[in-house]
């Protein structure tokens, strides 16, 4: 399910609208994921506090969404563009790739909550495809 020119344009335009709210979206997506999918917390046992408002969740949400925002500009070659992040996830973090889908879902929920008018079905499908392609690129080095 490769990204069409239309998908890329839709994602770029929508991400432009998100603007400064991106960090909050990242934080919210992580918070939602930890509460609705508690098994994902197993990767963060080393954090002192996993609650929605915690410093750890805020900081990590910003890290994750920052990487996704950077990937918006790399849509023509996600596998190449995410190569070092894929190394990190494959060899160091070893997050089961099934969790990428879970986090993607919670990003979509956070987007729907914060941008109800803009997150139309057409935007939803393109963003979903982008996150899926991104997840595949992130898993590229796993085996």
């Amino acid at each position: 399910m490769s990204l069409t020119a239309k998908d890329k344009a839709v994602v770029k335009a929508f991400w432009g609208k998100i603007g400064g709210k991106a960090d909050a979206i990242g934080q919210e997506a992580l918070a939602r994921m930890f509460i609705a999918y508690p098994q994902t917390k197993t990767y963060f046992a080393h954090w002192p506090d996993l609650s929605p408002g915690s410093e750890s969740v805020k900081k990590h949400g910003k890290t994750v969404i920052g990487a996704i925002t950077a990937a918006v500009e790399k849509m023509d070659d996600l596998i190449g563009g995410l190569s070092s992040l894929s190394d990190l996830h494959a060899f160091k973090l070893r997050v089961d790739p099934g969790n990428f889908k879970i986090l993607s879902h919670n990003i979509l929920v956070a987007l729907a909550v914060n941008f109800p008018g803009d997150f139309t079905p057409e935007v939803h499908v393109s963003v979903d495809k982008f996150l899926a392609a991104l997840s595949a690129a992130l898993a590229d080095k796993y085996r």
Binding site: R32, I35, V109, P121, E122, V125
Partner: protein
């Protein structure tokens, strides 16, 4: 040569059968020994007060027509292969056509009213959905993976409507409810 400890001799099989029979007795909630059985292994879903209240609250305030229409439209747009089940719905060529299609709107309402049965029978969703499960399996031939796709779209639509009211805890309760519905709907697939 020493026997492997995994091998079950006749005694081992007998023990296994005893454990199975005991397990069945416990599940039936009966006790042959006369003392009161205060705990019962149950395969009922356990709902917290918060979860019950959340589900009742969300659905009591919901516009079934609008949410049903929007959720089904979103599903057909975001996961276009789901259109395979709606060959007789006419024009589904693009998002605008799907949104404007009266058969999609009507069917969205049907689906939401089906969900309503689970809302009204939260302690017995599996039995409530037995016939619907047979229908989806044997008559409609719907791949159960599609239930999760529609459920995800419904979650997104409700999230957009409730905004900040769709807190992470509310999301967890809502998604648990839909997961139970999906499980019940999948039960009669053989």
């Amino acid at each position: 040569m020493r026997r492997s400890s995994n091998q079950m001799g006749p005694g081992g099989v007998g023990l296994w059968v005893f454990k199975l029979q005991t397990g069945i007795l416990i599940l039936q909630g009966s006790s042959s020994s006369g003392h009161a059985e205060t705990s019962k292994v149950s395969n009922m879903v356990e709902w917290t007060e918060f979860e019950r209240a959340t589900i009742q609250d969300i659905f009591s305030k919901m516009d079934y027509e609008s949410v049903g229409h929007n959720a089904l439209t979103r599903c057909l747009v975001v996961y276009p292969w789901t259109q395979r089940y709606f060959g007789n719905f006419g024009n589904l060529y693009n998002a605008a056509a799907i949104m404007g299609n009266p058969l999609v709107a009507a069917h969205g309402t049907v689906v939401l009213h089906g969900l309503d049965k689970a809302v009204k029978n939260m302690d017995n969703i599996k039995a409530t959905y037995a016939e619907l499960s047979v229908l989806h399996s044997e008559k409609l031939h719907v791949d159960p993976d599609n239930f999760r796709l529609l459920a995800d779209c419904l979650t997104i639509v409700v999230a957009a409507r409730l905004g900040s009211g769709f807190t992470p805890d509310v999301q967890a309760a809502f998604q648990k409810f839909l997961a139970v519905v999906i499980s019940a709907l999948t039960k009669q697939y053989h």
